[in-house]
Each structure stands twice: as structure tokens, then as C-alpha cells.
């Protein structure tokens, strides 16, 4: 892992903005709150910036659905000019675009109401005339009641409220709708309290239902025409204003980030102090750039390595595999980043378990076709580190194809294997799983050993003893006396260094070794399920294709899920437990965004 060191930056109070700007633009500094000085640094511009940023972002969000196309990169403009420009953009937006957007919202709401009304009245007899209720009575109530109760209710209504007008009609599922118009609200309420009925929204209809429906459809057409005019006007505005909003937002955000460093910093009467972390390998460059500002002093501070943030250190090509490591949390300072080994062993395990040319090709094809959706799904389920997990699936699918040829399997059908048929050579499969497990576990011990040597820790003998213990035990099969001697010596060393807890770890090590037998077991079971699907299809005659498609789709889902979980488990539990030490946090440097803007910030 990339190691970070703690530093403190002192500068004259007049240069605070220049220093913070330089720190943020380098993108190499992870700030941390300092308690060595007491006075907070307050910039008046912070509030103005925050307010503008929120308003610009809201406006951008409103116009986003109406914009399509690319935004040209523009040069960062000076701070005061940016504030003025942003205010002008907002003014134009609220005067010219916002009223149209608000009208679009109102029209869309109105259209929704019409849609609901049309849906409601579709259940009512078209010739029913609601005129008398709406036109003559002060109260209008609607609801639905069981059809069986209608006659009884009508009778009660004519006795107790002779002036009321009531309209009934069939609704659905043994219910009738009922509308009552009366001028005696009190009597109506007392009558209704004796009945249990469900209040129902019905539009206030004048005339017949058919007339009302016609008027609704006409209104809907008018609204559609208005909406189309409004949309084309907003689209024109969006084409012109959206890029401005986007670039202004980015620039405001960058200025805000710079001033935001003040949340971590403190000041005295003459100078400011900013504390934080810089990667060891970037320290000299960081120092050289910053000390170009007159009066800036940088000091290395003492720190506890366990408190230091760490940054994964692996080639960019294997970055998607870091997602699996990330499930353990950030590693501690000085640990070795295992992503490279994960990028080999995860697809290897996945492929060995699935081991089918057909399923491998299906995974490859589907993942390539739905890459964005796959990434989104994994991001949602397992977090942002999984946002490019489709690459892991693509490599794993490819590995499944290779193992499929090695084991001679295509959708559960045996072809000539390059290596051996899994079902006919179970012993060979179990032994190879076991040996692969041993290699994987010992790689874990080796990583731990290298890490300890780098840290200068005194656990080298213990690490070597774990490896020699295994060599001794398996050496016994070839030369019993020599193997026994090596194993006993290793066990004694382990017990001496680690105490009785080593005994427990020894047993768990054997458990770990046997755990790799899942590579064989999961593979056999997925092959078995595919075999059953094929046999079922062969027996079923006309439904053959249906069973084949349904069965193999189901097997494919299981075929992805089981190896994914098991390969992950072999890494997280068996492999990482040998060397991975969880740290406290990830190195997260402050950085400016230059997606649509370029150049330096000018204060």
C-alpha cells in the first residue's frame, strides 16, 4: 500500500488563500483537523459561494433533462468575475426559463389529473346525468358501498333526507358507487355515520358522463399542444444555458473546495497552520511546489502508523479487482496491496468452479452487452468500489471458457477435454483443488513475510514456520522421518513464539486447506445440475427447447452466484486472514475537478 506521512504547513496569514489553492490543485493532500492553534479561519466568501453553488446546481438539475450533447471545456475565470457571471446566469434563468419550467410542471400535473378522472369515470354508466347534484345542492359526496346495501340506503335516504338527490351505479367487485347531493349537511353526516362505506374520489361532473369525458379529452389535447410549445422553448434555452450552468458549477465547486480547507486549518495573529497527510513518494514534489510561495514552511510530524491513511498500490489495469479487497476495509500502513494476486486467483477460482464453455460465453456475452446495468447493480448492492465490477465478470467468464475446454464441458454436454473430465476424475479434481489451495494459502504467508520484512517486524520466524510446517507434513508422504522432523520443529517454534493460540491457528490452517475442496465440489454440482437439465430435456419430447432454455438460464444464474460467493469467500476468509491487517481509513486527497473547465484558479 502507498504510505502516507503526516505534515504541517505554516504560512503567513496574508498568503492563506494562495497556499490553500496550491494545496488543492496538487490533489496530493489529505487534510486533518488540527488542535495546535485555537482560532478558526473564516472567509466571508464561503457563504456567498455555498449559496450560489446550491442555486446553480438546482438550475442545472432542472435543465439537465432538456440537454443532450457535449459541453466544450472552458477556461477558469477569476473569482469575482465568476460570482458576477453566475448571478447573471441565475437571473436569466429565473426570468426566462423558470416560468416555462413551472408551467410545464403545472400542465403535467393537470394532465395527470385528467388521466385519473378518465380512469375513474370509465367505470360509470356513460348516460348517467350528474347535473341535478352539482347544480341544485350545496353538498356533494361520493363513495362506494356494497351493492347489496344500496336499496336499504336509498330507502333511508328518502325517509330522512327527502330533499336529497342521489345517483348510484355499478362499480366493481360487488360494489356500487354512490353520489349524494343535499342541502342538509348535518342530517347527511348523521345518516352516513350509520354506514360503513369507502370514500371515493370522483370528479365533479356537470351534465352526463359522456359529455364530461369529451370535455376532458379536449382539454387534454389542448394541454398537449401547449406542452409541445413549452418543451421546444426550454430545449432552445437549455442548449444555450446548460453548458454555462455546468461550467459555472464546476468552477464554483473548485473555489469552494479551496476555501473549504479552512475548516481543517487554524490561525494565530500572523500565520495559519494546516495539518494533514501526504503520500511519502509525493512529499518532495509537494514541498517543492508549496515552498515556492514565500514564507511557507513544511514540517514532517511524528505519527502513529496505525492512524495513517493508506492508498491502494496496484496497476490501474487490475483496479476493478480492488473491489474484493475493499470488502475488508482499507489496509494498515506498510501492508502489501493484494489486488494483483486477487486479479489472478479470483477469475481462476471462478473459472475452475464454473468450468463450462457455454456458460462462460453466456457470462461474457451478457456482461459485455449489459455492462452499464451490471456495474450499476453491483455499485448499488456492494458499494462504489464495485462500480466497474463488470470487468471482473468479463475476465471470470473468459476464465470459465478456458476451464470449460480443459474439463471438456459445454452446457453440461461432455466434449473431448484438454485436461480431464471432472465427473470421471473426481480424485484428480479434489487433489488439484487441494494443491491450488496450498499455493494460495502459502502466497498469503509469503505476502505477510514480505510485509513483515519491510516493516522490520520480528515475526519472520513465525511466518517461515507456518510454511515449513506444511512442507514437513506433506514431506512425510515422501520421506516420513525427514518430514516428521521438519513438522515437529516447526510446530515447536510456532508454539514457542505464539503460545497456545498457535495450536488453534494450526487447526484452523488445516480447515482452510480443506476449504479449497469447494473448488471441486461447486464445479461438480454445477456440472451435475446442467447434466440433469439436459437429461430432463431429452425425456420431454415437445417441450425440449423450453426446458433447455429455462433450465440452463436457471443453472447460469446459480453458476454465476455460487462461484462468485465462494471465490470471494476463499479470498476474504482463507487468504486475507493470513496477512491482511485492516487500517483505519483510506487516503482521500483534496482535489479539484477539471471535467469541463481548465486552468488555474484566479483569486
Amino acid at each position: 500500500m502507498n504510505e502516507a506521512i503526516k505534515i504541517s504547513v505554516f504560512s503567513h496569514i496574508d498568503d492563506s488563500v494562495a497556499v490553500m489553492s496550491s494545496i488543492a490543485s496538487m490533489g496530493a493532500f489529505h487534510p486533518e483537523k488540527t488542535d495546535r492553534l485555537k482560532n478558526d479561519i473564516i472567509f466571508e466568501n464561503m457563504e456567498i459561494l455555498a449559496d450560489l453553488l446550491v442555486k446553480i446546481e438546482n438550475a442545472r438539475g432542472e435543465l439537465e433533462p432538456y440537454f443532450s450533447g457535449n459541453v466544450k471545456s472552458s477556461k477558469t475565470i477569476p473569482f469575482s468575475e465568476l460570482i458576477e457571471t453566475s448571478n447573471n446566469i441565475l437571473k436569466t434563468f429565473s426570468e426566462k426559463i423558470l416560468p416555462s419550467l413551472q408551467r410545464i410542471r403545472n400542465v403535467e400535473m393537470k394532465k395527470l389529473t385528467i388521466k385519473e378522472d378518465l380512469k375513474m369515470i370509465s367505470n360509470i354508466n356513460k348516460n348517467t346525468n350528474f347535473g341535478p347534484i352539482n347544480e341544485t345542492k350545496s353538498s356533494f359526496l361520493s363513495g362506494k358501498m356494497p351493492s347489496k346495501a344500496v336499496k336499504h340506503f336509498q330507502l333511508m335516504l328518502s325517509e330522512r333526507l327527502p330533499d336529497s338527490v342521489v345517483v348510484f351505479g355499478p362499480w366493481e367487485g360487488g360494489w356500487d358507487y354512490v353520489l349524494i347531493g343535499t342541502s342538509d349537511d348535518v342530517q347527511l353526516e348523521s345518516l352516513l355515520s350509520e354506514f360503513t362505506w369507502i370514500p371515493l374520489y370522483l370528479p365533479k361532473i356537470r351534465g352526463t358522463v359522456a359529455e364530461f369525458k369529451d370535455s376532458l379529452l379536449k382539454e387534454n389535447q389542448d394541454l398537449d399542444r401547449e406542452l409541445s410549445v413549452l418543451h421546444s422553448s426550454v430545449l432552445k434555452f437549455a442548449l444555450k444555458f446548460y453548458p454555462n450552468l455546468l461550467t459555472s458549477k464546476e468552477m464554483l465547486n473548485n473555489y469552494y473546495k479551496v476555501l473549504g480547507i479552512s475548516k481543517y486549518a487554524k490561525k494565530s495573529d500572523f500565520f495559519i497552520l494546516i495539518e494533514g497527510w501526504v503520500l511519502k513518494k509525493r512529499f518532495s514534489r509537494f514541498k517543492n511546489t508549496l515552498t515556492k510561495i514565500e514564507g511557507v514552511e513544511i514540517f514532517k510530524e511524528k505519527f502513529n502508523p496505525n492512524d495513517a491513511p493508506t492508498l491502494p498500490d496496484h496497476p490501474k489495469a487490475v483496479d476493478p479487482f480492488y473491489s474484493i479487497v475493499s470488502l475488508m476495509g482499507p489496509s494498515s500502513q506498510g501492508s502489501i496491496d493484494p489486488t494483483l494476486s486477487v486479479s489472478f486467483f479470483f477469475p481462476f477460482f471462478f473459472g475452475m468452479m464454473l468450468g463450462d464453455v457455454g456458460y462462460g460465453c453466456a457470462i461474457l456475452f451478457l456482461t459485455i452487452l449489459f455492462r452499464k446495468q451490471v456495474d450499476k447493480l453491483f455499485d448499488l448492492l456492494l458499494g462504489s468500489y464495485f462500480s466497474s465490477f463488470s470487468w471482473v465478470l468479463i475476465v471470470s467468464g473468459f476464465s470459465s471458457v478456458i476451464f470449460g475446454f480443459l474439463f471438456g464441458e459445454v452446457f453440461g454436454v461432455s466434449i473431448t477435454p484438454v485436461l480431464f473430465n471432472r465427473f470421471e476424475n473426481i480424485e484428480a479434481l479434489l487433489v488439484s483443488s487441494f494443491i491450488i489451495g496450498l499455493i494460495h494459502l502459502n502466497l498469503g504467508f509469503l505476502i505477510k513475510l514480505i510485509g513483515d520484512i519491510k516493516k522490520g517486524a520480528l515475526t519472520i520466524i513465525t511466518n517461515l514456520s507456518w510454511i515449513s510446517l506444511q512442507i514437513g507434513i506433506f514431506g512425510m508422504f515422501f520421506n516420513f522421518t525427514a518430514g516428521l522432523l521438519i513438522a515437529t520443529a516447526s510446530a515447536v517454534l510456532l508454539l514457542r513464539n505464539g503460545g497456545l493460540s498457535s495450536l488453534f491457528v494450526m487447526f484452523s490452517l488445516f480447515g482452510n486447506m480443506f476449504s479449497y475442496l469447494r473448488l471441486a465440489a461447486i464445479g461438480l454440482s454445477s456440472f451435475g445440475i446442467a447434466l440433469v437439465v439436459n437429461q430432463l430435456a431429452a425425456m420431454s419430447g415437445s417441450a425440449k427447447i423450453l426446458i433447455l432454455v429455462f433450465g440452463h438460464t436457471l443453472t447460469l444464474v446459480i453458476g454465476i452466484f455460487a462461484p462468485f460467493i465462494q471465490a470471494m469467500r476463499l479470498h476474504l476468509i482463507e487468504f486475507f486472514s493470513k496477512f491482511y491487517e485492516v487500517g483505519k481509513r483510506v487516503f482521500n486527497p483534496l482535489s479539484l475537478t477539471h471535467e469541463h473547465t481548465g486552468g488555474d484558479l484566479i483569486w
Binding site: L327, L381, L382, G383, I426, E427, L430, F514, S515, L517, R518, A520, A521, I522, L524, S525, I565, Q566, M568, R569, L572, I573
Partner: protein, 72 residues
């Protein structure tokens, strides 16, 4: 007779270990759901832990295979 007993033995090896895994996953699964409800980012770890007891079935399955191969 021997074939029948072999099959019963293999069935028991898988069946009983599957029952044990089911029991273990029941406890872990409930706790995992509780943990995810409190902290969504634990989903990944919870998934792994929930799948951990499957090792028992895998051992059962391997034993069943060995029984069947020995008995064949």
C-alpha cells in the same frame, strides 16, 4: 444390499450436512439482515458470512462422492 447402504450413507452425508448448514445460515442470515438494516455498506460482508456455513455441505458432498466412488 451394499449398494443401497452406500447410497443411504452418501445421502445422509449430504442431507445432514445441508441441514446443519441451513441451521447455521438461519442464525447468521437473521443477524446479517439486522446488521444491513443498521448499516447498508455491510451488505458485502454479510453476504460472505451468510455463505460461510456452506463449507459444511461441501465437506458432506465430498464425503458422499468418496463413499459413492468407494462403493462403486
Amino acid at each position: 444390499m451394499v449398494d443401497g447402504l452406500t447410497a443411504i450413507g452418501a445421502g445422509l452425508a449430504v442431507g445432514l450436512s445441508a441441514l446443519a448448514a441451513g441451521l447455521a445460515e438461519y442464525g447468521i442470515g437473521s443477524a446479517a439482515i439486522g446488521a444491513i438494516a443498521e448499516k447498508e455498506e455491510l451488505f458485502g460482508k454479510a453476504l460472505i458470512f451468510t455463505a460461510s456455513p456452506e463449507t459444511i455441505v461441501i465437506f458432506g458432498f465430498v464425503i458422499a462422492l468418496l463413499i459413492l466412488r468407494g462403493g462403486a
